[in-house]
């Protein structure tokens, strides 16, 4: 239920516990959201350092920094942490902070389960990382952990399994919480067709997490049973099926990549209209595209398995190509939103535009790869590494950065420096393309992914050097971001309630919002209630 009038409590103020105790025991969705963001960026840092170590190793032929086993651990942990402990939770973190605000609610539906699903994340993440202390090191079978490689290996692999089950449980609990919150706690007038696009994207993400994550959990339990209980799920010598793992993993894994991108689509669809001074073009089309992609994502998994020769090529190729239709609809909606708008090139807008450009490249890569003939040529080469990073880094991480600049004033009451924001954007955009564009060509020249070394006479050395240089430019851009955040947090809170002239309800409350979110909730008559408010009462707004 939403509060439409100021509240007063009759009780005397209770003594406040220590601030650390308050944060550790909080059930406030805003504080939990901030904890999610801090935890996610910490894992982003760790996984980013792993990436830099890999790029340093690959800068020239010959092994310089790490052993081959060490390299295997690096790419396994890099992928696992980036996907399960950075991108997924950072989107759920923004969701936690923003969904109740955007729908005009007081909090999530189950605040204590919300706290639980947050605290499971560092536990799961550290469990996976603790493999580094185990004999034989951490998990080294890649983030996809294909059997039979994942059936071998030491305790690090088991810790990886246990950690992922914990993180998966956190996702399922969050998903339930989001769905119930969105279906049950909307403010009066906030119908489903007036729901902000970001909230829709979190609803779709949650549906995917709810239905796909348990499939991974089941697969992980089979793997664990094989490794520790003596079962034979993936062991053909005793009647098992080694391809079963790939089916189970990708039945989860492909919906997973949409869990990783839908939130960013929602973010960009919120930001583009605000900085174009226009409503989102074709709101129903965007929602329909989200829904179609959510549904289709369960039918494409075996396009990851074309080279096994054991899957139905025409079916999985066709369903994969089908997804490009609603995705194309999204692109046209975004471009039409920009068309003839009054564009304001603030940092959030730059990152959103960068998202469109880079995600387009990643998306077109995907359409190409959906053809089995093409897939046979580039499977498990650096082409795939380029594709996944254009989608998840060029796509989602640019979206996350757009969100960080856009909502930073709401969360902290302070606007990030625009100048440093420009530096951050251009360095990251440049570094990103330097790192990942050459990987397309490396893949076409046959360089396989997940190798620690290559021969000097293969013609791969120069492009690898470019990629390594680019990765350090990305690192510098992130240092600029960190400096920006650190400097800004030392300034006083001066941000207005609505510094960007936003559309959605979070801009109708102070920056940062009070514990109870809203002193007064505006009437909701469209999917742009705060824009409506500005039009109806311009004088009051200024006062």
């Amino acid at each position: 239920m939403a509060i439409t009038e100021p509240r007063t409590t009759g009780r005397a103020p209770e003594p406040q516990p220590h601030w650390l105790i308050q944060w550790l025991t909080t059930t406030d969705h805003k504080r939990i959201g901030i904890l999610y963001l801090l935890n996610s960026f910490a894992f982003f840092f760790v996984a980013g350092v792993f990436a830099l170590l890999m790029r340093s190793e690959l800068a020239e032929p010959g092994r310089q920094l790490v052993t081959t086993n060490g390299y295997n651990q690096l790419f396994t942990l890099h992928g696992t942490l980036m996907i399960f402990l950075f991108i997924m939770p950072v989107l759920f973190g923004f969701g936690n902070y923003l969904v109740p605000l955007q729908i005009g609610a007081l909090d999530m539906a189950f605040p204590r389960i919300n706290a639980l699903s947050f605290w499971l994340l560092p536990v799961g993440g550290l469990t996976i990382l603790s493999g580094l202390l185990a004999k034989g090191g951490a998990a080294a079978a890649g983030w996809t952990s294909y059997a039979p490689v994942s059936e071998q290996g030491g305790a690090g692999q088991d810790l990886w399994i246990v950690g992922l089950v914990v993180v998966g449980t956190a996702s399922i609990l969050s998903a339930i919480n989001f769905i119930v919150t969105i279906l049950r706690l909307r403010a009066p007038g906030m119908t489903m067709t007036r729901l902000p696009v970001f909230v829709w994207s979190m609803l779709a993400t949650s549906l995917l997490a709810l239905l796909a994550t348990p499939v991974l959990t089941a697969g992980l339990i089979m793997l664990f049973a094989d490794r520790r209980l003596g079962a034979y799920f993936f062991n053909p010598a005793h009647g098992g099926d080694v391809l079963l793992w790939q089916h189970v993993f990708w039945f989860f894994g492909h919906p997973e990549v949409y869990m990783l991108i839908l939130g960013a689509w929602g973010i960009v669809s919120e930001i583009l209209p605000v900085f174009s001074g226009r409503p989102l073009f074709g709101y129903p089309g965007v929602i329909l595209a989200f829904v179609l992609i959510t549904a289709l994502s369960f039918s494409v998994w075996a396009h990851h398995m074309f080279v096994t020769g054991q899957v139905e090529f025409p079916f999985f190729s066709a369903t994969t190509e089908l997804i490009s239709i609603p995705t194309g609809v999204l692109f046209f909606n975004w471009l039409a939103t920009l068309w003839r708008g009054r564009l304001r090139f603030e940092p959030p807008m730059l990152f959103a535009l960068g998202f469109i450009a880079l995600f387009l490249v990643g998306g077109v890569d995907g359409i190409w790869m959906a053809s089995p003939a093409m897939d046979f040529a580039i499977h498990d080469t650096y082409w795939v590494v380029a594709h996944i990073h254009y989608v998840l880094f060029g796509g989602t991480v640019f979206g996350i950065m757009a969100a960080s600049y856009y909502w930073f004033p709401k969360i902290t009451g302070r606007l990030l420096s625009r100048k440093l924001g420009y530096w951050h954007f251009w360095l990251m955009f440049l570094g990103f393309n330097l790192t990942f564009f050459p990987m397309h060509e490396l893949g076409l020249r046959g360089m396989p992914r997940r190798v620690a070394d290559y021969l000097p006479d293969l013609g791969w050395s120069f492009l690898n050097q470019v990629a390594t240089a680019g990765s350090f430019v990305i690192a510098v851009s992130l240092v600029v971001f960190l400096v920006n955040v650190a400097l800004t947090l030392r300034r006083p809170r001066t941000a207005a309630a609505d510094p960007w002239e936003g559309n959605t309800l979070e801009w109708a409350t102070s920056s940062p919002p009070p514990v109870h979110n809203f002193d007064r909730l505006p009437e909701v008559r469209s999917n742009r209630p705060v824009w409506d408010l500005r039009q109806r009462r311009p004088a009051e707004e200024q006062a």
Partner: protein, 196 residues
């Protein structure tokens, strides 16, 4: 205003309460979890020329039929309890709830006994792996359900359940029926399929 008040206010305007909807969603997630194992079962079944593979007996449905009867009965008794509380008959509810928990414990005991009579283990081949992992995970879910229902019973004994406020029981019942349905699928797959 706490979140508890929030859901309570919601219930007055909408039919399905937050906790019950939450449980429906959780059960949907659990359904995907068990569906994955059934998918694995039938995939492995399809790649093996002989089923059950050599060295495994065809399972006798006798004791398992009793297990099925126990669990289905427990679903009925639990639903009778739900019906009682909807008419605000707390004492009747407590009796049905107690009986349901008892049947759940019986199921667990009987299944452990069944395990001891089978004569094969998880390491004896793929059929053993599938059988013990799938029925074992189900057993864990029954155990979880018993714990849940005991907590609801404690609530009821403390006078916290009424026709206006018994979400925990409604949610527990949805979960319990789901676990029952999963058992019927397991029973059909392992004990009945292939019987001529």
């Amino acid at each position: 205003m706490t979140a508890l008040d929030l859901t309570r206010d919601e219930r007055t305007v909408r039919r399905t309460s937050g906790p019950v909807l939450g449980m429906v969603l959780f059960v949907a997630s659990e359904a995907m979890f068990f569906a994955t194992f059934f998918g694995a079962y039938f995939t492995i079944y399809s790649v093996n020329p002989v089923w059950p593979p050599a060295g495994f007996p065809r399972l006798e449905p006798g004791l398992a039929a009793i297990l099925t009867a126990v669990l289905v009965t427990s679903s009925v008794t639990l639903q009778l309890g739900v019906r009682a509380i909807r008419r605000d008959r707390t004492r009747t509810l407590l009796r049905w709830l107690g009986l349901t928990i008892l049947l759940g414990v019986c199921f667990l005991g009987l299944q452990l006994y069944d395990y001891s009579q089978l004569g094969f283990g998880v390491r004896d081949g793929i059929f053993g792996s599938l059988f013990y992992v799938m029925t074992g995970l189900h057993m864990a879910h029954v155990f979880g359900g018993v714990v849940f229902l005991v907590l609801v019973l404690v609530q009821g004994l403390g006078g916290q359940l009424s026709d206006a406020s018994h979400d925990s029981l409604e949610a527990g019942a949805i979960y319990w029926h789901f676990v029952d349905v999963v058992w019927i699928c397991l029973f059909t797959t392992f004990y009945l399929a292939g019987l001529s």
